[in-house]
Amino acid sequence: MDIKDFIAPFAVWKRAFEKPFTVKKPIDERPGAPRYRGFHINDAERCVGCGTCEAICMNKAIDLVPVEGREAKEGDSGLRPRVDYGRCCWCALCVDICPSGSLNMSNEYLWIDSDPDVFRYTPGVDKKPWDGAELGYRRAEGYRLLDEQRVPMAELGHREAVKSFLELVQGYSRAQAEKEADRCVSCGLCIASCPAHMDIPGYIKAVREGDLDTGLRLLYETNPFPEACGRICTHLCEGACSIGTGGDPVAIRWLKRYIADQVELSAYAKALPRAEPSVGKKVAVVGAGPGGLSAAYYLALLGYEVKVYEKDGEAGGMLRYGIPEYRLPYPALDKDIGYIESLGVTIKRGVAIGKDLSLSDLRRDYHAVYLSTGLPVAYGLEVPGDKHPRVLDGVAVLAAATRGEELGLGKRVAVIGGGNVAMDAARTALRHGAAVDILYRRREEDMPADADEIREAKAEGARLIEKSIPVEVKDAAGALAGKAALFVWNEAEMVQKEEGKRPVPEAIPGALREELYDSIIAAIGQGPDLSYVTEEDGVPMKRFKPLVDARGMASPGASPKGGAIFAGGDLVNDRKDAISAIADGHRAALSIDRHLSGKGA
């Protein structure tokens, strides 16, 4: 022992003269650090109620609860996360994973109450003093548990693309598809937005796990056109994808295509359900488009004898005659149709109802008839001179291209319209070496075509002339008379005429423009051909549409024995896309089965 050991401890006393480390009222004046993981805050407007926070929470501290005044809608379940602080461990994995980034934490850590049951609330909905806190835990920039970037899809370069009708989109490899499938959080927000309500999380899971037979089976549960839809679907699902709230939505459409592409047609039967034994009843389907064949597929599965009548030489409807092969190659479509035919569905090609057979013949010979004749009639420009021989209709041009006919569009082509038909016609004309102008009455953002289509049409060299109201078609002068035409349009400005309605294009007085074209392709809209329906068929119609009930039934038929008429697809629904027609066909098949079997009528 040293003398120092006796004296040194007294050095403690020097501390009596130093500033204490403690501070007064520390709890009131001590905010959490800027990154502090305090009570949750949620931007309820940005939140889409996908429940990924709930899925990652290892404490089961989060419930998704309905919230007053917030309805489910496309891409938003209307549910919001509710946190139980009896369970929360403040790890903030929910913040790190939140697809939209709406869920965060404040730096507030004081909340005192004698009632333990109050420590449970829905952030952003139940008002709290720390709502909107500037400080608190946010996931670091560039740091999130989910991948915001889609696996890039290999596509033909635009310069390459316009040289041929080769398919643009190359499809995912297995590694790419599994990586893309890994981005999905299985929230299922997409299901409601899909007209067919496909089990999207289910088949994405199948991709992830490499179980493509299960994937194919899930696809066919609601959609017998996976090859076609995997390429050209309007993919409303991707618009609803929760991952899309903070990055690229999951490439649902490409994943669907991946499944269908990977399984050989010869292996389909092994993966897919067999048809029920025959129920001894016959159903006729008018129109072999996606809707008609969808009905046929599900009816065949249910044991019905199905005959599909198609006026054109090939089955597929608009998928074949409306969509160019660079978007949907014929072999892919043939695969979908081939499988449906393999179930015993008969397709009578080149038989037009109303001409070769009447609807009343079908009503007499079949227990039920499904009308799915779509919108084959192109509407005209309805401007002076629109009967000029160089004014063509878009649907006819695309059909002629499908049939491999010489199009003779010439060097300069105008396409009038902003829908997908217009884009397809424009890109077809580009592939035939024409310079193409797309004239649209409103602005680019108003165009009903898919954004991808517009972007690609422009990238491939089409010139988009917005806000152009068609005025007149004039014959070209001199030697070109009858071989070319002047298209005259009036430049327009968008005018907000009424509150709450979309702005209207209004011609700017005197701002007339004209241009000489070899062909003017009108693609302003299409209508149905219902000339084959007579009053005797008992199908109520309004405004060129058969009226159907919730089951898709238009007429119960003369006798309980049969002749009931159902209708669907573009002919009836307002969506007017393939997937809606497929959904209608599926619904009609189930309704026809219920009607004919007397179940749940």
Partner: protein, 151 residues
């Protein structure tokens, strides 16, 4: 036409609506299939409703029409349908004919209102201008929704 009173003005208008009923009836006679007929019948019934409405107003002696003029979507001017629809008429043909017809009626009432010296008749024609603008708007909206979806 020289309408001098409320009753005469209304009589004139009722006559126009009756002519409209006949217009659709004639078209229906040309029609070749069911959906054309049902659509034309729908429009014809609408015009019959207008006849009945105006007749009832005449009987009551009071005009009960809104003066609100509907916004002109400008379609009527852009559409060029001089020829009458024929047997194979599409929904587009029928709607174009309807829009044009309402447009002509509206223009007629505008000029009648301007020419009218009798304030009673003038007021009736002004109201009818508004009424026809709403009819036209109705068809224009149908046209936008069903025909020109892509443009």
């Amino acid at each position: 036409m020289d309408a001098t009173s409320f009753a005469e003005a209304l009589d004139f208008a009722i006559g126009r609506e009756k002519a409209a009923v006949d217009f659709y009836r004639e078209l229906a006679a040309l029609a070749s299939f069911a959906v054309q007929r049902s659509t034309l019948k729908e429009f014809m019934t609408m015009e019959e409703g207008h006849v009945a409405m105006l007749s009832a107003m005449k009987a009551r002696g009071g005009l009960e029409l809104s003066s609100a003029i509907a916004v002109d979507l400008g379609l009527a001017k852009a559409l060029a349908a001089d020829e009458k629809p024929a047997a194979g008429m599409s929904f587009q043909d029928i709607l174009v004919a309807a829009v044009k017809k309402e447009e002509r009626s509206g223009e007629l009432y505008v000029s009648l209102a301007a020419a009218s010296l009798n304030p009673e008749a003038k007021a009736v024609f002004e109201r009818l201008v508004a009424e026809e603008s709403r009819h036209k708007r109705y068809f224009e909206e149908l046209y936008e929704a069903h025909i020109a979806r892509d443009n």
